[in-house]
Symmetry: D2
């Protein structure tokens, strides 16, 4: 498989390169970068030297689509829509790490992203790429809208109990903590080391653009309209998302029952690790890997189920899941090139 990465020098781009350089079936064929055009990727990131020494090209997306079998895009949505059209026309495949193809309803996308783009959204042959929920559709789609990092950590954590109606549809509170790499590679005041170190802070409270994505998917799982409260926080670490989710229990259920329910729900999912009662996820337990850890606790005093999930935001939350989807789209084992153990300590 010849792969192209459009927008290769952001954190998700270089994570794709890290994974795909060692993927037995992939050959990195095209890399683009607006900021570092004409430089070697291994000059920009010396740690890639010997593994990937390609030139970063500019924005000749047509060429990229022509010479590659699959395109990964980290571009702004306006450009991704263009690339999407080229891919459809050329019978190639596209995995988009941005929001462009994550939605069922285009107006929903336009409202939350403040976009005026006019396209025939339904003509794109696409799927929401949360692999564990849409595995079969991913295999047969041309375009994958790869999920956001927060939605991945949240939807995987909630799917089993919503599907089985163990919890009620009201008062679902999601409190997520992310490492700073999730804020991207842009040089902004708020991303500076001295601003982030020794600092925990919420941002975009109840306004984050991952909310519509979360609600779209939870509503489909529960087959009714679900609304959530979502607060993202930045904590002083580079990688990792920990989501702590609070739901009202519908009925009496033990912690062991909940454990069994999750085990059953994810019994065929290699990358989902359900923790036994008494153990909780931590971001360090999944760092550098594509795994998602899920644990829980029942607060009997308030009849609340507390679900906790941990992922590496650049792996299962972005580039790892993108490659997981690529594997499916090309008939490969889902964990090909991704079967690595977390880094610890």
């Amino acid at each position: 498989m010849k792969v192209g990465i459009l927008g290769a020098t952001g954190y998700t781009g270089i994570e794709l390169i890290r994974i795909l350089s060692k993927h037995a079936n992939a050959k990195i064929t095209y890399l683009s970068s607006k900021h570092f055009e004409s430089q070697l990727i291994s000059e920009v990131y010396p740690g890639l030297s010997g593994f990937c020494d390609k030139i970063l090209e500019g924005d000749d997306f047509k060429k990229a689509v022509a010479i590659c079998d699959v395109i990964f895009s980290t571009l702004p949505h306006e450009l991704t829509f263009e690339v999407g059209k080229m891919v459809i026309d050329a019978g190639k495949k596209l995995i988009d790490l941005g929001p462009a193809f994550r939605f069922d309803d285009f107006n929903f996308f336009k409202k939350w992203y403040g976009s005026n783009v006019e396209i025939e959204y339904d003509k794109y042959h696409k799927v929401y790429g949360l692999t564990e929920l849409y595995r079969e559709k991913v295999k047969n789609s041309q375009i994958v809208g790869n999920p956001g990092c927060y939605p991945t950590s949240v939807i995987l954590a909630l799917a089993p109990v919503l599907k089985n109606r163990v919890v009620v549809d009201k008062n679902i509170i999601i409190d997520s903590k992310s490492g700073v790499s999730g804020a991207g590679h842009e040089p902004k005041f708020s991303n500076l080391y001295s601003e982030c170190n020794e600092n925990t802070k919420p941002y975009k409270v109840a306004k984050h653009r991952h909310i519509p994505e979360i609600e779209q998917e939870l509503s489909k799982i529960m087959e009714q309209d679900v609304k959530v409260v979502f607060t993202p926080h930045l904590v002083p670490m580079t990688r990792g998302i920990l989501s702590t989710i609070y739901c009202n229990l519908e009925s009496d259920i033990t912690l062991e029952d909940v454990y069994d329910l999750y085990q059953e729900f994810y019994k065929n999912d290699y990358f989902i690790k359900i923790l036994k009662p008494g153990k909780y996820p931590s971001t360090k337990s999944v760092a550098g890997s594509n795994f998602c850890q899920i644990g829980f606790e029942i607060d009997e005093r308030t009849n609340t189920l507390i679900i906790i999930s941990a992922i590496d935001n650049l792996m299962k939350g972005a580039s790892g899941q993108a490659v997981q989807n690529m594997n499916l789209m090309f008939g490969l084992p889902e964990n090909k090139g991704l079967d690595v153990i977390r880094i610890f300590p």
Copy 2:
């Protein structure tokens, strides 16, 4: 004022020394340490050299009470009860940074702390030392049960809306994030640098011993039984607590109204900083200071009020508030020795 600190070499102990060494009205007269007995405090912590060079004594608490006007204790509760009795008998004052004197109902304490101690709890002339709520009582008490770090951040954030019944008493969710100094000075695996760095993890989910303290106080404020869900997390920083609190709104209210309500509630409280709508607290904005920042957001989609508070766990969450209480007990201005600006960056 002659002050003694029993258990002076833990993080709250040396923070007391840092504050009191520069307090115009206090004279550090007795320091005890089980682990470092007979050493100079400035040998154990060289940064104190020139500011406090006293010898660390052993456990002669009787002597401490005899020669001091006020005792700060960071001892285990069994020992603190003994010291409390000595203080009452001698007509001195005690500020306890542990849980021993925080409760109205001794059985409640015994249940949550698994204690078999038998004492006449009601004979201690004590008050729960959350200064902003109990200022007048603190002035006239012999013993202050200084609040826990999490409860300080939570009760201050919730008091105005519970008192004014702006929110309902159900579904109060508290998600707190603490720096690692909150886990204390003990050498344990879980506190090692390499275990905590790049790691965000929950602990004691729905089981933390600060829950009874929070519920006792919220129930008194609301004049009815209040239960909360509380999840503490460790995040990779040394100082700071950020609590994100979710409540269902009782009725229609604007963000501006909420802001006005908090401003009014805390209008005479020097150390409480209410942030304007659109601004959120961060731990770095209060680091090294005794301030508590409070901000909020309304999620209209779900009719949820989200309250966020930030404190320095060793200052307003422990030693700073202890000195704030000491000032009141001795008729001094509340912010004496505490009026310092946060360290930034």
Copy 3:
């Protein structure tokens, strides 16, 4: 004293505000900022609210000089030279935190800083503001060239042994480690959290612009031409500089003798802390304070003296020392407003 700060929103600027807001003899009268002009400083840095709520003005330096008794400048050197002239003409005082006034020989400055400015450098009534070495001159100067952060940590560490010719003038190796705040407040790729965290890296090896400043002063101390090797490194922390310095011993000397020599040399210097043999400095022991810790070891196997010094780069390495100089220039006790204990942990 009315004080003005030109360039008030960088890290050294807000550190000056932090110190001067609580300085009994200073009144912050003028603040300028190119980036945040017309905003309240307490809007840009909410932690200053209640302590300093002044409007940030633009570049009306003439007004600043007219209404203030002393100006602190963090401006580029071209602008600082202009301000310097205004200050001389108006009979006011200037403390410059940049390199403009640190040099004896203007050509030396121009060469290392690649500057073409033409001014009558000798007409400025100035002094190199390393307080411990130039205390008397500082008292009587109109302009202070406040030392760089690295030079402060290095010159203080070397002065006693160079003055006493305990070490030879060759092979002086300086290996310095700095926190990231030393790289300033500019949003650059290299200062991003995700680039700096978990990363130790050298930069400007043997080329850093603090070299001429170090060599100028060491040469004056030793009364002969001294050259040094200097390598700065960035380590993942916000504040602090640790300099490890290696010199060949001239003759036999014991560690105790070295200790006595330093004690004697700095016997009247409040902010210098000489550590006993066997103890070494650490950045955390001086964080947030104006102290400089100095310790040493003799490697008898190689006849090498290893000197280690630690400062807070924003305090003794910049704004703290600037206020120390201001105190002297206005006849105040040197430690006025600066007598604070380090923050720990």
Copy 4:
């Protein structure tokens, strides 16, 4: 190959498990742990679940040697000597990550490590396992004394210029900065998060036990007695060592010549990355990988060569190099199971 790891739960032990669990030719057959005996390794470290779920056994080293082809030991040297004898007798192989087998002269070992052990040191068929220098001997040895983390970073950096006598043998200054994982997994005050975070500090100045190992090897390379000055520092990060090394140049040589010399010296060494003039190593560029980056600068003003090397202390500095040696001992490609790209960011 059946492998056993004695002392499997320290940081180098679990790093071995991380590598060997994915090594196509290795089968983890025996794990021992004093502290966690009888527990599953995947209970102690949940991130290993699914990759390695073996029971941790006690100290039946005889059994370990009997059922394994190769033993990795992280035990204290007294125990390692016993295991070494068993291995020799049984015709098996041993890779020791401690100091026991790193020395040519047993008295030298005993002096620096304060040991009274009496053994026939010469009867052990052993080699110092710095792979790049002793590749052929490693292939044919039964016992490998795997190098210390600091010595690996230092000897690799100095070998080319000492061998070629580009630098003089005097005044070799080594200033190393290590992440905290190098201090091990023991719960000690000095390793606590709150003590290490925001702290850079030297330790064991001119006294570290890695000095004899460094000097033994440098002396052999240069064929004369070489002494060095060595100062290790702890910096606030988990992984990584950066060594900055200062030498006096013997004669005129350009930076390009130095670059060519290193390229030539290491032309057959997969894991050594020589950086072009103007680029410097950083710990983040090698994190999680087995690579060693080496860069340099010439300070013409002082005729000094500054060499900088970076490794991951747990990989090339310990467990990675141990597996590199294992590969050689069993006729496998040197980079088998180790050919991974650094984690970034």
